[in-house]
Amino acid sequence: MTSELWMTHPGFDALSAHVDDDREGVAGSRVGRHLAHCERCSGLVEEIRGLGSALRATEGATAPPGLWSRIDASANRAATIAAMPTLRVRDQLAPEPRASATRLAPHGKQARRIVVGAGLVAAAAIAALVAWPHRASLEAAGTSRLTFSPARPVPGGRLTVRYQPAEWMSPTATLILVGRQATRARAYPSVFGGEVFAGLGDSLAMLTRAADGAYVATITLPATFLALGVTVLDLEQDEYDADGVRPWIIIGGTASREPSFSSFVAARDIDPGWFVAASRFRPRQSVDVADSLKRYFPSHPAGWAYASASRSSTGGFDMFRFFQSGERKYASMYERLWGATNLDADRLHHMALFANAIDEPGEALRWSARLVKEHPEDPRALADLAGALHDMELREPPALRDSIRSWLPSLDRAYRAAPVANRGFEDALRLATTYGDSSTRALWGDRPADNGMDRNIYMMARRVKTAPSRTAADDVRMKALRARAARRCELPAGRRPMAETMDGWRARCERYRGMAFGALSSAALRDGDARMGHADADSAVAAMRRAGFCAPSLAFINRARARLILGDTAGAATDFTLAAAGYPSGMTTVPDTARVALGPRFDRERFVAGAEVARRAADACIVAQRVREKARENRTGGLTTR
């Protein structure tokens, strides 16, 4: 439910715009001030920046063999034509005289075509708007290799899954059906952020080959069934099949086969990202939860609450909202619901989300407070209230401190009543320690470390590594990282990777262990504990190598720094050369680091020679990996997305 939490902070668009403003030197904005004390949003800003840098770090494709021959032949023909007196090869390539950018504005016939096209598009848009609330077939119908019946399985009923094997799956007698099941007792939490164990599925059943070559399994669903995500794994666990990059999703119904509100929401929780990706590959499975909820449960605010979160993927929501006005809908729902007694937690929570969606933080606080008051045990209560208060902070109203202080008992109540691990703990902890008195700060400071903490290894590692000094929150994170680093990458009984091979899962798991060890070593070095820093850096190197990293540079740099402190200058120099293998030969980042760290003991010639040897070894390692990957691509046709 991460996307819900963002709503109480500056919107994604505002953060994205801030990244651009920041790049262009605009500082001191309101968002900038917010980022100064909000780890979550600054983390998101880093993620946004990371998208660009990750893209720039990737290699471009190389021209295929034989292309020059085509160009040569074509250039020959073009030269012949150009030489003919009645024909001219138009110069379509030379850029405009302006230096800044290209200009491709349409003109002439092309412009007329675009006008006609625009008219058709407008007509189509109007038609789509008219048809919008009546879109048919909202549940997944299973048009892929995996089909299931009934289309809307009921709790306690039976579900038959039929799988037509992909070419790359081993033609064995049986395959494993792996799944993540959401039930009323176990609605799956989001599995974002590299918690590879939380992302595992259960071995649900063995798929047995039928006479027609398809594989079939029938499973009995629990009485509390809501939704299910499934993939197929072969017995050796070295091939899998899935709905592209996501599990196939099966959304349950009520006992009387009617659409189930809880099932739609649970399906969204199984894999929220699925709805974005699936819409590209599998139109018939691209269930839009917001759309479905609006259709089947028009008087419930949930559809409206989620619609704003999914508008980026639907594109049409803004126009829809223009005609139907979310604000007016909110007002009518408010009229109907606010005076009602015994409102369930779902309605209160979704009204808070709806209020946020239409940018009414005061209203969001109103519904969140009521949720805490009437359903403090709801796991969303703390997050909703803390988020709403955080939004209030952003508005900087008069007497902010007193106002927020008056809400701290409610936060405490929500924390005590909620089951672990509840969401919103970090926000609540920050609010309590910022605005509370000494006893409140002490109370929250002692709260269990793993209660609601962010389990995202990547974010935790990054925060611990970059923290200028150790704080109470860092201690909590380090404890979590230590536990994660100590956990071996072995599958728990009955659990299997989803949409992933066993080797792929193990490599990913080791990578996160390596990140955890790396962050711990950074923290130890920062705290002056060179021995611990060395041990953790050593473990990071080992884990990253098991993860398939050919040049784990950061781990080597940490180990070099630790060795230097421990007096092992030669070892440090070697580690610096190994670290350089991860960077292009022209980059001076590592040599500069080594020069500063080693001082007069830095031998440039020796460093360059050592780095070259290490780089060659890393290159050979990368080439070998690519050969293996290519072999797999050839085997599967590179086509795991159908």
Partner: protein, 191 residues
């Protein structure tokens, strides 16, 4: 440095590559010297193809763009009046422009490009990319992807993007935010 590869440069005479300066090579290309054009392909073919591949997400389209560009390069070079050192950047912009022209022309190849889409085992040395950024990009709509690439890869500001695509500055901003949001969702959802 010229880097002959099997197949691609088979017809290119590279003997003089090491001694011919880039300025000379450009002049010879304008004059119709095919070997010099081949030398430019060896030097910059990968770059042009890589740029085109990113924008079109389809190898066949990228080949078309690369071919069109190099076939017309002798003529187009007459419009290049900058310093020799600026040639790679100029060529890159031309490649971007040519890719955008193809995207807008509607004459794209029909085949669906699947390479790079979802090889889930493809791994890269970055924490976020089990679904790599390149794979995630292919999942975006063309209009979102193009704006993201122009911004993040070419460093265009929104005014330049708007000009290049014939859209408003506000539209460019919205497309960029949406592209980033979708990429974030995709990459988060994949870890």
């Amino acid at each position: 440095m010229a880097r002959p590869r099997n197949g691609t440069a088979a017809a290119v005479t590279l003997t003089a590559d090491l001694v011919v300066s880039l300025r000379d090579r450009l002049d010879l290309t304008i004059a119709g010297d095919r070997d010099s054009l081949g030398g430019l392909f060896v030097l910059y073919g990968d770059m042009v193809f890589g740029v085109a591949r990113r924008y079109t997400t389809c190898s066949a389209d990228a080949e078309d763009v690369t071919q069109d560009l190099f076939v017309r390069l002798p003529m187009a070079l007459r419009g290049f009046t900058g310093a020799t050192a600026a040639f790679p950047a100029w060529l890159r912009r031309v490649a971007v422009r040519q890719a955008l022209v193809l995207l807008r022309s509607g004459r794209r190849r029909r085949e669906v490009s699947i390479d790079g889409v979802a090889s889930l085992v493809a791994r890269a040395d970055h924490a976020l990319d089990r679904l790599t950024i390149q794979q995630a990009l292919t999942l975006l709509s063309e209009e979102h992807r193009t704006v993201f690439l122009l911004r993040e890869l070419e460093g265009f500001d929104h005014r330049e993007i708007a000009e290049a695509l014939g859209i408003s500055v506000a539209n460019s901003e919205v497309r960029l935010h949406r592209a980033r949001r979708q990429l974030r969702d995709l990459l988060r959802g994949s870890t």
